[in-house]
């Protein structure tokens, strides 16, 4: 993961993208409570959400709780303002990459998407500069979102509308074409995946959600998606533009994913927030494994589906973040 000095250097030379500047703003703002050399991850829970459709107000409160804890600011308005969006991205587009692949029942919840959009607007981002996106209309519908390209409102459409770049990008085993929503539309992207078990990858959450920004995700499934997940996240546009993960762990499937398996549905009633996508995935993996053991199932590693891409993403070659618990400041609230 880039350190602050690298970011400052990059910003000064104009070499980094807006996403990295967002990171810089966030890193600088968090400094007072950030443990030096550690990646902060917040797991915010609200047991009162219970099972079933999450309550709109409670999810907004939970989001505020997560962001205020993450930023170290007392008030939600200060927290969102300090995230840097209004200052850096006033005239730029902020994307929310959601995940509706699993279909209705196990997709990023619309209430969370709407809560993030609401807070972004209160922080100064105009509605038309927010784009909620995923692979296609079907996935967005699964999240409970309606397609809209009206520039005066929060926009919502898929890569099926925007298309993919002609030019292929490559990093390691990843040879893909990126969605034009990522390359041409968004200055920065908030990653809003949903926590799930995955038949091949083991865990699907922050880094795996990037499979939804490419034209042929099926080409990245070999060898339990390793090192494809890590390689894909190293593609510069993905590495730089994804500024933070606000992960949806309101409900989840702990076995049989990534599709909807109601018999394996689980309600962690949590949000997992962090800039370090590797630390976020490491934290999510621990949660998923704990649930599996509690349910009498083997851990993902014991089941032969270890999410090895997480440690690969942390290695010196990929350098996407940290997976060493000693280097993660985990705040559970």
């Amino acid at each position: 993961m880039k350190d602050r000095r690298e970011f400052l250097k990059g910003a000064a030379t104009g070499a980094v993208l807006l996403g990295s500047q967002g990171k810089l703003a966030l890193a600088g703002m968090m400094a007072p409570r950030q443990e030096k050399g550690k990646s902060r991850v917040v797991v915010a829970r609200d047991a009162g959400l219970g099972a079933g459709a999450p309550d709109e107000k409670r999810v907004l409160d939970l989001l505020d709780h997560a962001i205020t804890t993450y930023t170290g600011r007392a008030k939600p308005s200060e927290a969102w303002n300090s995230v840097g969006f209004p200052h850096i991205h006033k005239n730029h587009v902020v994307g929310l990459k959601v995940n509706g692949l699993g279909g209705r029942g196990i997709s990023t919840h619309a209430v969370l998407i709407q809560a993030i959009c609401e807070r972004l607007q209160q922080a100064g981002v105009s509605a038309g500069n927010i784009v909620v996106w995923d692979r296609n209309a079907r996935d967005l519908g699964a999240c409970g979102m309606k397609i809209s390209t009206d520039p005066s409102k929060v926009r919502c459409y898929g890569s099926d509308v925007a298309g993919y770049e002609e030019q292929q990008e490559a990093w390691g085993v990843a040879r893909i074409r990126l969605s034009k929503i990522l390359t041409r539309e968004c200055a920065v992207v908030i990653n809003v995946p949903i926590l799930k078990d995955h038949e091949m990858a083991g865990l699907t959450f922050a880094m795996k959600n990037m499979y939804g920004v490419v034209d042929r995700p099926d080409s990245l499934h070999a060898n339990n998606c390793n090192p494809a997940v890590a390689d894909l996240n190293c593609i510069p546009m993905i590495r730089e533009k994804i500024c933070i993960t606000i992960g949806d762990a309101l409900s989840s499937v702990y076995q049989g994913g990534p599709g909807f398996h109601p018999e394996r549905l689980w309600y962690p009633n949590a949000l997992i927030v962090g800039e370090d996508r590797v630390a976020v995935d490491h934290t999510a993996l621990q949660m998923l494994d704990r649930k599996r053991v509690q349910a009498g199932l083997p851990t993902l590693a014991a089941a032969g589906r270890a999410s090895r891409y997480i440690e690969v993403a942390a290695d010196t070659q990929h350098n996407l973040g940290v997976n060493d618990p000693k280097r993660i400041q985990l705040l559970e609230v």
């Binding site: 038949e199 990534p258 599709g259 109601p262 018999e263």
Partner: protein, 164 residues
């Protein structure tokens, strides 16, 4: 000449009969989805979408691999609604043979599965029914739990099974 004409007529009749039989068979196999009202309370609420094995990732992405390794040939899916409220999806996986369907059904089973007499084998949960019949593996899933959901799902499953 007369013999030749008779031969032509007979051939034509046989060809038409064979074509009709073929079409009939194909129709019943390719449309296992009950029409609205065919099963009490259930409406078919979307068009049927069909994915060839090579395109299955477009529908279920990471889940596709286990079906492909079990020999899936194609997958058809349609949404349903029960009494205008309970929403469900019906997925019909056409496997290469019954062994493929058996493999998928057994792999996905959990201890809380309730065994039901339907098709060659069937399990039911509170929000889902999964059964196999010959090379077909059918998965019916409701998006929420309701008191009458389990019975309604079973009724729909019987409706699908009778069309396979």
């Amino acid at each position: 000449m007369l013999l030749s004409r008779r031969w032509i007529v007979m051939t034509a009749v046989l060809a038409i009969a064979a074509a009709t039989a073929g079409t009939g068979c194909k129709k019943s196999k390719s449309n296992p989805f009950p029409a609205s009202g065919a099963v009490a309370g259930w409406e078919k609420s979307s068009e049927t979408r069909t994915f060839a094995a090579k395109d299955l990732w477009q529908y279920i992405d990471g889940d596709a691999e286990q079906y492909i390794s079990a020999g899936v040939v194609s997958t058809s899916t349609s949404d349903y609604k029960y009494k205008g409220q309970l929403e469900a999806v019906v997925d019909v996986y056409t496997m290469g043979d019954s062994a493929g369907a058996k493999k998928i059904l057994e792999t996905g089973q959990t201890p809380d599965a309730k065994s039901v007499q339907l098709g060659d084998a069937c399990v039911a949960y509170g929000q889902s029914v999964i059964f196999r019949k010959g090379p077909y593996l059918v998965r019916i899933v409701a998006y929420e739990a309701t008191p009458d959901g389990p019975q309604a799902l079973l009724a729909l499953a019987h409706g699908v099974e009778s069309k396979l």
